[in-house]
Subunit: 365 residues, 2 copies
Amino acid sequence: MKLRIDVTARDGAARVGEVRTARGTFRTPVFMPVGTRGAVRTIATADLEALGAEIVLGNTYHLMLRPGAEVIEALGGLHGFEDWRGHVLTDSGGYQVFSLQPKVDDDGATFRSTYDGSLHHLTPELAVRRQEQLGADIQMVLDVCAPLPSERSVLVAAVERTALWAARARSAHTRVEDQALFGIVQGGDDVALRRESAQRTVALDFDGYAVGGLSVGESREVMLPALQAAVDELPADQPRYFMGLGDPLGIVEAVALGVDMFDCVLPTRLARHGTILTSSGRLNIKRAEWARSSEPLDPTCGCDVCRRHSRGYLRHLFVVGEPTAARLATLHNISWLLRFVEGIRTAVRDGRFEAFRRAVADVWG
Amino acid sequence: MKLRIDVTARDGAARVGEVRTARGTFRTPVFMPVGTRGAVRTIATADLEALGAEIVLGNTYHLMLRPGAEVIEALGGLHGFEDWRGHVLTDSGGYQVFSLQPKVDDDGATFRSTYDGSLHHLTPELAVRRQEQLGADIQMVLDVCAPLPSERSVLVAAVERTALWAARARSAHTRVEDQALFGIVQGGDDVALRRESAQRTVALDFDGYAVGGLSVGESREVMLPALQAAVDELPADQPRYFMGLGDPLGIVEAVALGVDMFDCVLPTRLARHGTILTSSGRLNIKRAEWARSSEPLDPTCGCDVCRRHSRGYLRHLFVVGEPTAARLATLHNISWLLRFVEGIRTAVRDGRFEAFRRAVADVWG
């Protein structure tokens, strides 16, 4: 089956919709918590359910090495492995592999495992196969992600190889009845290249389209025009996914351009370091000023953590290094961001997205 | 109010009962999970509720140093601090203080904080005061715990000073309407000294009685006669607490002598290291043989973890160091031990405690 997005509301280019998959539907805009190695760090499947997450990520690089894709396949794919009934999106493994300075040619990338130094080779076809074994509802193609800033020649080469690999992944993708495959647009910060990469990816006819290689340290002024150029070329009736973006203002700005899906380790990583997302911005829960505070992390938040625990208690758990500190902060940050995205959906439906966007910019700009 | 135990069933010396406190009641025999620093490691208050724990421990040593007893008092005592509606028992801090080789005289113990090296002085009166601030439902007196083996003179001196301090704690204990105070029997492995210490403690008229200084590495053949000698002297209508014992066979043997209350960090510490309590004994979940196992940790266990997660998944989480591994194992081990103690209660009520005890010895002996 071909993946489609049913757009149920629009406000400018911002849109609210539902993506229908073989498994069911998830609502967009959506934030997808990242379960790198088969679990979102510090929390369990039951927590994700309680949080109301509809789709989570798995990282093919980590999972193909530990415990191995065939082990996960034997245990029922990621859904069986994690006992998770929601959606799973897997990345191709490319992003992590390219961070390891692999030997790359047109065939694929050769890299050493960060777990045991063993040598591995990843090709577009193998990435499809591994994600089949992982049982993803949505797979990503293996792409080439250039750092920013890069010379134009580097960006061009990345677009070329990404297109070559995308075509091979498209051909290798046979389990079409229950696994969607997304293409990825590259092109760095070059608007013309972004446009070209988007056109060439769309020509291959994927189930959805991601924009990769942005939100890698560049400014919002560099990021947004490149994103806009890509999105302009993407079909309106298919989902659009901005890879690796998870800050509130970034999400709002991307939604304003018509993006539907987001993932990022930022909210969970921040949580583990004691940085809390609140309606008034970031809060460092470790600060001494909270030692005797009976206030919740965010007085406007109705999450399970805010309903029962004080800043004083959370601060104490962080100060003494109790593992529960990272867990409670993670539960709050994910809940907060899911509710934030729900707020975007409501604002779009109510035709007041611009006011929402300005309010977010006031706090997070 | 004076603490009493309502014994509702007996089988030999083993007994089932309810301890009524100012807060409510808890059922005995009871296992009390240890929330050393305001949380049971890796889990949260909501988890303890879901597990059905009725009473948890807090460690005065840790909490008086971090965040400080007055901070916890300001946030509503441990109940407000942790948002915990069940019972809280606090130790006196003595056990940790004595492990730091403090300077001790009849007045009290002077020690350096393991957090920042600062100098502190703990007296019987101050231990009562700190536990008042922590808001414990049940306080413990400051006692002197001698290592085993020790010279008889060392054991005698510990009994003497424990008796001296117990009398001072008893006098210092003024918040009698809502905080019970337990005396502690010392005497090492010396049966006569245990008897004497028990008699002298009982003479001071506490709300309940603990046996301390056992389960510190000695064999069961050394432990049980010393325990028996102490228990023989304790009043039948008040609760009896064996401090620091948490292995299944040890619990059963102590229940057989008439003990009601247990605490230990063992089940939670084992869990964090991947050692799982099961109906067939300990299981090392990290072993390679479980990599593809779809079995639960313990097929006879109905806990939330066993209901949904496989050995293969748990093993993976441990192997890659996901924090969720320790959490899920902890939830299972606590659940398993609470259910084990529930099994003891049922066996006593049904008059088949001896059969239960033999079955436990077969697996854990």
